[in-house]
C-alpha cells in the first residue's frame, strides 16, 4: 500500500492482504540499503492471521520516494509518523540490523505507542568498517558484495533458501543495488556509524522485547546482541545455531516460529 509521511509517498507491503484498521499493527523495519522484501517470509504469516503486517520501505529505499534519512533518530521519528499516517494509535515493531537501532530508539522515545519490540541481529551500536563505509559512500558496488558476504553465515553461503529456487546472496545483492548505492547504503551506514544512543535508549524500554541472534552473525555478533538485551527489562533472547546475520532468510522458519509465539502472546491478533 502507499500512503504519505511528511509529504513523501511511502510504500509498505501488507503481506498480500488488504489493510484493515481494525486489526493490530506490526511494522517491520529493514536493514541498511535493503527493502521491505527482506520480510516476505515473516509478514505474510501475520497478514493472514489477524494482523496488519506493514513492511515499510524507508524513505529513498525500495518503492518509497524522498531522500534517505540521515540519522537513526530521524528514522525513529519517521516510524512513529507511519503509525499515525495509517490511522493507528499503537504498533508492535520488528527490526533487522539497522532496523533494530531504529526500533530501539523509536520504542524509547514513544513508549506509549509501542506494544512489543522484536529485534533480529540487533546491537546497541553498529560501528562501520571505515573502508566499507567509504566504498558505500562512493557508490562502489563492492560495498554491496562485501555486505552480502559478511551478512550470510557459512551455511548461508551455500544457499538453501526456504523458498524453492531462490538464491539468497544474489537476491540480497539485487535489493541493495535497486537504488543508487551511495544514496541508500551509503547514507544508512553513516547513520549507523554515527548513532551512539542505543544502550541508553535500551534502558528506557519497558515493553515486552525479544532478541533473535545467530551464532555466525559477523555483523552484529551474539555478544553484542546479548549486551543490548541485558539492558532491556525482561528481554527474551533466542539464539539460532549455524546461521548468519540474514537470519530472517537463512532460517526463516525458525525465526517465524519464535516471532509468532512472542507476538501472538504479547500482542494478540484480532480474532476472526
Amino acid at each position: 500500500m502507499k500512503f504519505k509521511v511528511n509529504g513523501h509517498e511511502v510504500f509498505a507491503s501488507t503481506g498480500g492482504r488488504p489493510f484493515d484498521k481494525k486489526k493490530p499493527l506490526i511494522i517491520f523495519v529493514h536493514g541498511s540499503g535493503l527493502t521491505h522484501m527482506t520480510w516476505v517470509l515473516q509478514t505474510r504469516y501475520f497478514a493472514f492471521h489477524g494482523y496488519n503486517a506493514l513492511a515499510v520501505d524507508l524513505p529513498g529505499h525500495g518503492l518509497s520516494s524522498g531522500k534517505s534519512l540521515k540519522s537513526i533518530e530521524e528514522m525513529a521519528d519517521w516510524v512513529r509518523s507511519v503509525i499515525d499516517a495509517v490511522g493507528h494509535k499503537e504498533a508492535s515493531l520488528v527490526g533487522h540490523s539497522q532496523g533494530c537501532l531504529v526500533t530501539v530508539e523509536c520504542t524509547s522515545r514513544y513508549p506509549d505507542k509501542i506494544k512489543t519490540l522484536s529485534l533480529m541481529g540487533g546491537a546497541g551500536a553498529i560501528p562501520m568498517n571505515p573502508e566499507l563505509l567509504s566504498l558505500a559512500e562512493n557508490n562502489d558496488p563492492k560495498a554491496v558484495d562485501l555486505m552480502m558476504d559478511w551478512a550470510h553465515g557459512p551455511a548461508g553461503h551455500f544457499g538453501g533458501h526456504p523458498v524453492p529456487g531462490l538464491y539468497h546472496i544474489n537476491t540480497g545483492t539485487m535489493l541493495a543495488k535497486s537504488r543508487t548505492i551511495q544514496n541508500t547504503l551509503g547514507v544508512d551506514f553513516r547513520a549507523c556509524d554515527n548513532y551512539k544512543n542505543g544502550f541508553e535508549a535500551a534502558k528506557k524500554i519497558k515493553c515486552p522485547t525479544l532478541s533473535i541472534l545467530a551464532t555466525d552473525d559477523k555483523m552484529c555478533p551474539v555478544k553484542e546482541g546479548k549486551k543490548l538485551a541485558s539492558l532491556i527489562d525482561g528481554s527474551q533472547v533466542d539464539i539460532i545455531d549455524n546461521c548468519g546475520h540474514m537470519m530472517l532468510l537463512e532460517e526463516a522458519d525458525r525465526v517465524l516460529t519464535v516471532l509468532k509465539k512472542f507476538i501472538t502472546t504479547n500482542y494478540p491478533p484480532l480474532s476472526s
Binding site: 510504500f11 507491503s13 498480500g16 492482504r17 488488504p18 527493502t35 522484501m37 516476505v40 517470509l41 505474510r44 504469516y45 497478514a47 493472514f48 525500495g62 518503492l63 568498517n129 573502508e131 566499507l132 566504498l135 563492492k142 558484495d145 562485501l146 552480502m148 558476504d149 551455511a155 553461503h157 551455500f158 544457499g159 538453501g160 533458501h161 526456504p162 523458498v163 524453492p164 529456487g165 531462490l166 538464491y167 546472496i169 544474489n170 537476491t171 539485487m174 535489493l175 535497486s178 549455524n242 526463516a252 522458519d253 517465524l256
Partner: protein
C-alpha cells in the same frame, strides 16, 4: 611483517565451487554428502495451519512435486547462483522453459520480437503455436540490431533470441539489443543453452531472463531432459503499465501483486505459482539429480569442448571437402569481435560447416561417420552430427529455411570431448564417402 593494509575482498564462493555446492546444505539432509533424490509426489503438513501457510505463500516449503521438489530446488538454486540470477525454475525440457517464460510474460493480444535464428522447435513454437494463444511474433535476423527496434509495437512485451543462433552461429548483439528492449520498457529473454554460464553470463550483458535446455552441456552426458528459466532480478515490472499480471492484484493468490511482494524474484514466483500449477511441466527429481552430476564438472568439460571445437575449426577450414565453416572462434566469422567480448572463456562447441557437393554429400558424410553420432541433440560429451535441413529444421518450408540462415549443404557439428585425433580420423572416413558419389558422377 608488512604494514600494508589488506584490501577488503568479498569471499563469496566462485564458479567452480558453486558448481559443486550451491543450493545444498548437507547438515539439513541427514549429513548426506550427495544431494538426495526426493522421489516423492507430496510432503506432509505439520498441521492445518502449516498447510494453509504453504498454500498462501506465507512460508517456503514444498506441497506437491509438480510445483516444487527439494532435489529440483537444489538444481534451481545452483543454476541461479552460477548465472548470477536471483531465482530459477526448472522444467521438464528446454522447450517447456521457453513456453512457461512466454506464458508468464504474455497474454492474448500481446506481441514478441524474436530472433529468426533459433532451434527449429522454438521457431515453430513462436511461428505456429503461440498465435493459437493470441500471441504474435515478428522475426528479425539476429545481426539486424536496428531491426529489433523497428519491430517493437505498442503491445510488444519482450524480445527473445538465442545468443548464438542455432544452427548458423550468428551472434545477437546482446548489450545493444538489451538497451533497445529497456528503452522500450520490455525485458530481453535469452536462450543461452549453447554457452552455459561458464562461457557467458547474459545478465552481465543486459539480459533479464535466461533460459537453458539443461539437456545439453549443463547435464552434458546425453542422459536426461531438463530445462530452466533464470531471473536476473533487475527488470522493473512496475515502470510502466505493460505487465498488469505482474503488478496488479492476482485473483489466483488472494490479490497478491507479484512485483510488489517479491521484487527481484517476482517473475520466477509467478511462473511457479501460476505456470507450474496450471501447465505442470515439472522436472523429475531423478533427472534433476542427473543434471546436477553434470554441472559438477561443467567448467572442466566446457574447456575441453571448446579446445576440441577450435581444433576442429582449423581442421575443417583447411579441408578440401569443406566449402565453408562457421564458428565464433574462426577469424573470418562476421561476429568475431562481438564473440571475443561476450564469450571470453571460449566460443562454444557448435560448428556449422558446408560440405562440398551439397545435400547428397552431406547425407553420405553423415551415413558414413562411425564415431560421431547422428542424432537430434547437441551438447553431449560425445561428438554429434546432423543435417539440419533434413532433420532438426525439416518442418520449415524453403523460405523459412532461408530466412533462418540454413542451407542444404550445412552440417551441424556438436564437438565432443573425445581425443581430437579420433574425431578427425572419423571425419576423414565421412569426407571420403562424401566425395565418392561426386567422383562417380563426374566420370
Amino acid at each position: 611483517m608488512s604494514d600494508k593494509k589488506k584490501e577488503l575482498k568479498p569471499n563469496t564462493y566462485k564458479f567452480d565451487t558453486l558448481s559443486l555446492h550451491a543450493g545444498y546444505q548437507p547438515h539439513k539432509n541427514a549429513g548426506s554428502r550427495q544431494v538426495p533424490i526426493y522421489q516423492t509426489t507430496s510432503y506432509l503438513f505439520d498441521d492445518v495451519d502449516h498447510a494453509a501457510a504453504l498454500f498462501n505463500l506465507e512460508r517456503g516449503g514444498h506441497i506437491y512435486s509438480r510445483i516444487s521438489n527439494p532435489t529440483v530446488g537444489v538444481l534451481e538454486e545452483r543454476v541461479a547462483s552460477l548465472e548470477g540470477g536471483t531465482a530459477a525454475l526448472a522444467t521438464s525440457s528446454g522447450m517447456s522453459a521457453i513456453f512457461l517464460t512466454v506464458m508468464t510474460l504474455c497474454e492474448a493480444g500481446d506481441h514478441l520480437v524474436v530472433s529468426s535464428q533459433l532451434y527449429g522447435g522454438t521457431v515453430n513454437l513462436f511461428r505456429l503455436t503461440l498465435p493459437k494463444f493470441g500471441i504474435k511474433c515478428t522475426f528479425v535476423k539476429p545481426r539486424d540490431t536496428e531491426g529489433f527496434k523497428k519491430a517493437i509495437q505498442k503491445n510488444t512485451k519482450g524480445i527473445f533470441g538465442e545468443l548464438v543462433g542455432n544452427p548458423g552461429n550468428e551472434i545477437m548483439n546482446m548489450p545493444e539489443i538489451a538497451k533497445i528492449a529497456h528503452d522500450a520498457g520490455i525485458p530481453l529473454m535469452v536462450d543461452a543453452t549453447y554457452q552455459t554460464p561458464y562461457l557467458c553470463k547474459p545478465f552481465e550483458h543486459g539480459a533479464d531472463i535466461v533460459i537453458h535446455s539443461l539437456t545439453k552441456w549443463m547435464a552434458g552426458h546425453g542422459s536426461s531432459m531438463a530445462g530452466i528459466l533464470i531471473e536476473g532480478g533487475k527488470f522493473d515490472w512496475m515502470q510502466n503499465d505493460k505487465f498488469p499480471t505482474m503488478t496488479k492484484p492476482y485473483e489466483g493468490y488472494h490479490g497478491l501483486s507479484f512485483a510488489e511482494e517479491f521484487g527481484p524474484t517476482a517473475f520466477t514466483m509467478k511462473a511457479r505459482a501460476e505456470g507450474m500449477r496450471d501447465f505442470g511441466p515439472c522436472l523429475s527429481p531423478q533427472n534433476a539429480w542427473n543434471v546436477l552430476q553434470g554441472i559438477e564438472t561443467l567448467s572442466v568439460r566446457m574447456k575441453k569442448h571448446c579446445s576440441n571445437a577450435e581444433e576442429m575449426v582449423k581442421y575443417l577450414s583447411n579441408h578440401e571437402s569443406v566449402a565453408w565453416v562457421s564458428h565464433p572462434s574462426a577469424p573470418n566469422h562476421p561476429d568475431a569481435e562481438l564473440a571475443n567480448k561476450l564469450l571470453p572463456n571460449g566460443k562454444g562447441s557448435m560448428i556449422a560447416f558446408g560440405i562440398k557437393g551439397g545435400k547428397d554429400a552431406g547425407v553420405a558424410f553423415i551415413n558414413n561417420v562411425k564415431l560421431a553420432s547422428h542424432l537430434a541433440n547437441v551438447g553431449d560429451t560425445r561428438t554429434l552430427v546432423i543435417h539440419p535441413a533434413s532433420g532438426t529444421h525439416s518442418q520449415m518450408d524453403e523460405a523459412t529455411l532461408k530466412f533462418a540462415g540454413l542451407s542444404h549443404d550445412m552440417i551441424r557439428l556438436s564437438v565432443g570431448i573425445e581425443d581430437i585425433d579420433d574425431i578427425k580420423n572419423d571425419f576423414e572416413i565421412g569426407f571420403r564417402a562424401a566425395r565418392k558419389p561426386r567422383l562417380v558422377s563426374n566420370q
